[in-house]
Symmetry: none
Subunit: 200 residues, 4 copies
DNA sequence: GATGAATGAGCCTTCATTCAT
DNA sequence: AATGAATGAAGGCTCATTCAT
């Protein structure tokens, strides 16, 4: 019998190697040969586990997306369900978690965004992610704001999150999570009724 | 008998073709053959005028950056030099000018951002651009806000601009310039002293 | 505790799977992975039983050749040993037995012929087969024709058999055994002394 | 300006190299690298002129087919239009012209036949060729035989031609054109009315 | 100035084979 | 006996670049 259960070892191993290589040489330079070498396996194995390079890239993006959304859920689970400010803060913090803002992850995100414009499967994945953030934000905001305002604030918050994130990714210093979080919360404070903060 | 002045014709022609091809097939798919065909010239000519594909891409990014910064300058020139709100609005509007938010330009920006992470020359170009936006914003804000606050608001404004821009680029509907501008101005209104708006 | 006698099960199983796969995707497309899947076994097993892909192909060709020659022998055994016409007819019929003219077998033959040109082992196998047909035919013909004529007729008969066979294999309608047999017998009738048919 | 008219030089050059390589190592072994080397050009050029390996193989088969059909037409043009025997002989001779029976051409034919079974484009090409031979033969035969007989004889003649051809291709001695032609004409003589030969 | 023929390196993928289990 | 994970060479193809014309 062959080694069993290798799939659970190899798949994450190759996905990590992919992110590492994208970090080092970009998506364009991320050849299967390089990824294979980074994972200390033969290039051919990628076809075995992912059916091709596209499958590996798609799986890598799914992994990044899953990391983000599970991070959000984890942070939300720790916030009191009746404290809107705490819950919004949780969502914002999750988006600026070090695991998401490390140069490696940041470059991977950026690479996939650019790629997604011309790749239907990646595009769909990214759309879901984008809408989910908005949906999370608006769900909380509607508890304390009229509908129109909830929508407007959620759009602005999402733009702030992505904006700080993007500018950080493009900067040699990386994302300054503390500053970004603080400035976003500053904005938030001005939008919510004062009563929200009394309970916090 | 060489035709003189062809450079001034060929270079913009090839830069436009490059943006068109990036829009259609992405930066990855933008081969010199495709770009040459889009410009109705031979692939070999690119080396003649740009010294290679890299030179063409660099020139294309310079062109995009120049379009933006000249747009900002043009809008600023039309705003009264003593009306801070008008000047900030001018900067914001220039960033959401249709010439900048068209899908073609948007995809080009995104592609170059991702590329810049692993390409020193492009990285430098993009850094200059990034800092210039901040510098423009802070210059105006310092007229009406204390230093610290001016910095904070400028960072937030820049994030909002890039954030709305990015989310628009990634959405099938493109950038909604009207909504983005409005929401950013909403934020701005809350940050500036009321006196600013009386004069306007 | 190794299962004994598996060789007798696995070898025909794999040979049949090989013919099936050649029928479906051609010899070029017949990878060990595909053959293994068609036989519902692991690709690695082929090396175990045949020492490699070449061994399997060789065994498959041997199997096809054996089917033909045992078919000829079977048909000959049923023909009276003194009836030349009956015996020649038996040889011809055996060559157009449905088991030999099925698209699957036909494609396998054709594939092996082409392959044999550049594969000494297969070439030898096919030579033996070719000569055996001639030898069978001439042996019978010499009973009723002078040597020279027997040789000429045997060559012509062999060409007719292979010719109808090849044209059938290349046609979408397959081999028309009835028509082929009839036309060959028409020819034969003109070559043999009338006395041959009186006894028949 | 680049070298002009190279297409007319390169295309036949590469087609000949293809046949040469197929002769040497078979269709399976005929890689673009080998073909390129045989033609003393870079492998990449094949894509330039034929759009890929498939295009080259298709063009090679077309070339072989064209050689045959133009050979038939040439021989027919030299035969008196009212001498059926001469015209049929011309068709037969053209099929056994040295240019068609050389080991190189023979192996190419065989390889393409096998390939055609699983390649729609090649299959169609080969079908046209097959039908054309029958059509030529029947056209002449109908001048001197009733319809049914003309059909039967044309089928038999075609089988004889392909049969001798195939057996020759598979033999180390190659096709014996003289013997094949003679034996086929022997058959023909028995099928046609004696009057046909008086005029000849 | 401009062409496009030609090159050759590099890419992704396929595949026969090996081997630990 | 049998598996299928893993290898690594080889395949076809793409592509930036060069160069004779």
């Amino acid at each position: 019998m062959p080694k069993v259960g290798m799939a659970e070892i190899r798949r994450p191993q190759l996905i990590n190697a992919t992110m590492k290589v994208i970090d080092q040489v970009g998506l364009q330079g991320a050849s299967v040969a390089l990824i294979g070498r980074a994972a200390s396996v033969s290039p051919g194995i990628i076809n075995h586990y992912f059916g091709g390079k596209d499958g590996l890239l798609e799986a890598t993006m799914r992994s990044v997306l899953l990391d983000l959304s599970s991070g959000v859920r984890r942070q939300l689970a720790e916030a009191p369900s009746d404290d809107v400010v705490a819950r919004l803060t949780a969502i914002i913090r999750a988006n600026f978690d070090p695991s998401q803002t490390s140069p490696q992850t940041a470059k991977t995100w950026l690479a996939f965004w650019a790629q997604a414009m011309h790749h239907p499967v990646l595009f769909r994945l990214q759309r879901v992610n984008e809408k989910r953030l908005l949906s999370y934000l608006r769900f909380e905001l509607k508890k304390v704001l009229p509908n129109d305002q909830a929508t407007a604030v959620s759009l602005t918050l999402a733009a702030l999150i992505d904006g700080f994130w993007l500018r950080g990714a493009l900067s040699p210093d990386g994302v300054n999570e503390t500053l970004a979080t603080e400035l976003i919360l500053d904005y938030l404070r001005q939008q919510l009724p004062h009563t929200c903060f009394e309970t916090a």
